[in-house]
Amino acid sequence: MKPWIERQRHLIDFTAQSLARRKGKSLGLLVVYTLLVFVLASVALYTHALRNEATRVLAGTPEIVLQRLIAGRHDLVPPGYIEKIGRIRGVQKIEGRLWGYYYDSVLKANYTFMVATDREIAPGEIVVGPALERTRELSAGNGVSFRAYTGELHTFIVAEVLAHESELVSADLVLMNAADFRRFFAYPAGHHTDIALWVANPLEVRNVGVKLLDALPDSRPILREEVLRTYASIFDWREGMMLALLSAAILAFGIFAWEKAAGLSAEEKREIGILKAIGWETGDVIAMKFWEGFLVSLLAFLVGYVAAYVHVFHFEFALFAPVLKGWAVLYPSFALTPQIDGLQVATLFVFTVLPYTAATLVPIWRAATTDPDTVMRS
């Protein structure tokens, strides 16, 4: 066992020296290879994080949201609607919600103002998302003023900043007390923005939807599962397009790598002849070349993956954002929660490191099995 390890160490030493001796070839390959891993990993990390984010967002939302329609457009829910729905079997909880958009002309940004249903916020206080914390430099205890659409200025005290995780939902959020909300937007008393319904059994969601339509013909129930499906299809479509583009790049890389790795230079062939003549076995030569392929691709993989991680989670996927404009429109700007999926890393590893390592091994077979006496006849 010990000599085996020692031997592999020697072979790795030798192969590392060989790479250093052929700097141009090794570096060129490494750069191209790293770029490829970088692009692949960026897309993979980004879509994965985005999908997770969306799932997490929707996990907290009610199974059904009921909107009232007038002339096919979303309108306020007048008083008495919740009572009209009455008791429907399977509905756990019904709640009228209050939310709306506010355009901040100072920063030219849109915020979502919302009345928190799961927490109490004192009159005159607000809870803000991380985007506001950044752009308006707010922190707990600060005062902030918004000019309402009526023209008058309202001042609030920031009670708390929401946690940074899951920024996709909470980045631009401003939570407040119901009375403050109605006063700020001059919201008609007793009206709500929409109605949220929680249904425990997923199989009953559609039934409840049908019953809602019966009870309130001028309303539109929006089921969470449909929203989820829409999201999923948008993501899948975008990802598919990216992957189509990428496969072209991968193909080009494959040809490039094949040429670089597969073609043994005359110098390399000569060296292999020498090594065999001085007592290296065919297996030693092959193992040495295996390490070469493995080292190059492993290094490229590590550097490419780390760069992709930084790109996605610290630079907001800036390089490829234009390609994915669809998502950008979906939501202006947000930082994703950094996360790594083991299976995804493994897949990426297998699809980058293995083919290259194999490509370095194929041509070596012939060179390594040539008779050692050829070196006497150069």
Partner: protein
């Protein structure tokens, strides 16, 4: 110690350019002596040397090393025997460019899995022995011809082989360096190593360092002459 029995070697067998380079050779290389294979160019010296050194297999005939028939062994075992028993010095030196002298010297030690420190220590002893210690870390392409050959000798000796094999070792050396090289060979033979050379250089063939000369012509052994020391 190294015996050949009825060795024949053919190139391109069955093709129009089929060529019998060796046509039935019997010989017995004595231990701890310097033996030379001489003959005109194309007479089969190098071919015979590759068979003696287990670099190639004969088409027919038997090779016996210390009484053991090794001609039928699989490649793996043959490589192992070659690494342990033989050290090679090639006409073009065949050093690996870009590596330093000492790194070239330790290469034959890699497959055996000897720790690096041990290999380096052994290489340093060999370098010092050949007055080359000061060139330890020089890239081999910067060395002179004589220095390159001494590095090649060190490399050949790394695994402490019983038998040293050299093909036309003085072809790239001037007379002074050739004489120095022969002096090194004598020391090695006196220390108990068996040395086999090919050469058509009179300086080598007629040297007093040489103990036995085998003359080849057209793939056949035409003469064997013992020249120097008394045989035990």
């Amino acid at each position: 110690m190294l015996e050949l029995a009825n060795i024949r070697k053919v190139f391109n067998q069955g093709q129009h350019n089929e060529y019998w380079a060796l046509k039935g050779i019997d010989l017995d290389i004595p231990p701890a002596r310097v033996s030379v294979l001489k003959g005109p160019s194309g007479s089969g010296k190098t071919t015979l040397l590759t068979i003696l050194g287990c670099l190639a297999r004969p088409t027919e005939g038997r090779v016996r090393l210390n009484g053991e028939d090794i001609s039928g062994l699989p490649e793996r075992f043959l490589t192992e025997i070659r690494r342990r028993t033989f050290g090679f010095i090639f006409q073009q030196f065949n050093l690996i460019r870009g590596l330093s002298a000492i790194e070239n010297i330790i290469l034959p030690g890699y497959p055996g899995g000897t720790p690096r420190a041990q290999l380096l220590a052994r290489a340093e002893t060999l370098l010092a022995d050949l007055q080359l210690a000061h060139r330890r870390d020089a890239k081999v392409e910067w060395l002179s011809g004589g220095e390159q050959q001494r590095v090649a000798i060190c490399r050949a000796l790394l695994n402490d082989p019983q038998i040293l094999v050299a093909d036309e070792p003085t072809a790239n050396l001037d007379s002074k360096l050739s004489t120095e090289f022969l002096a090194i060979l004598r020391r090695l033979a006196e220390a108990g190593r068996t040395v086999i050379l090919t050469s058509h250089d009179p300086l080598v063939v007629e040297s007093e360092v040489v103990d036995r000369v085998y003359s080849l012509r057209d793939g056949q052994l035409v003469e064997v002459v013992d020249t120097r020391r008394a045989w035990p």
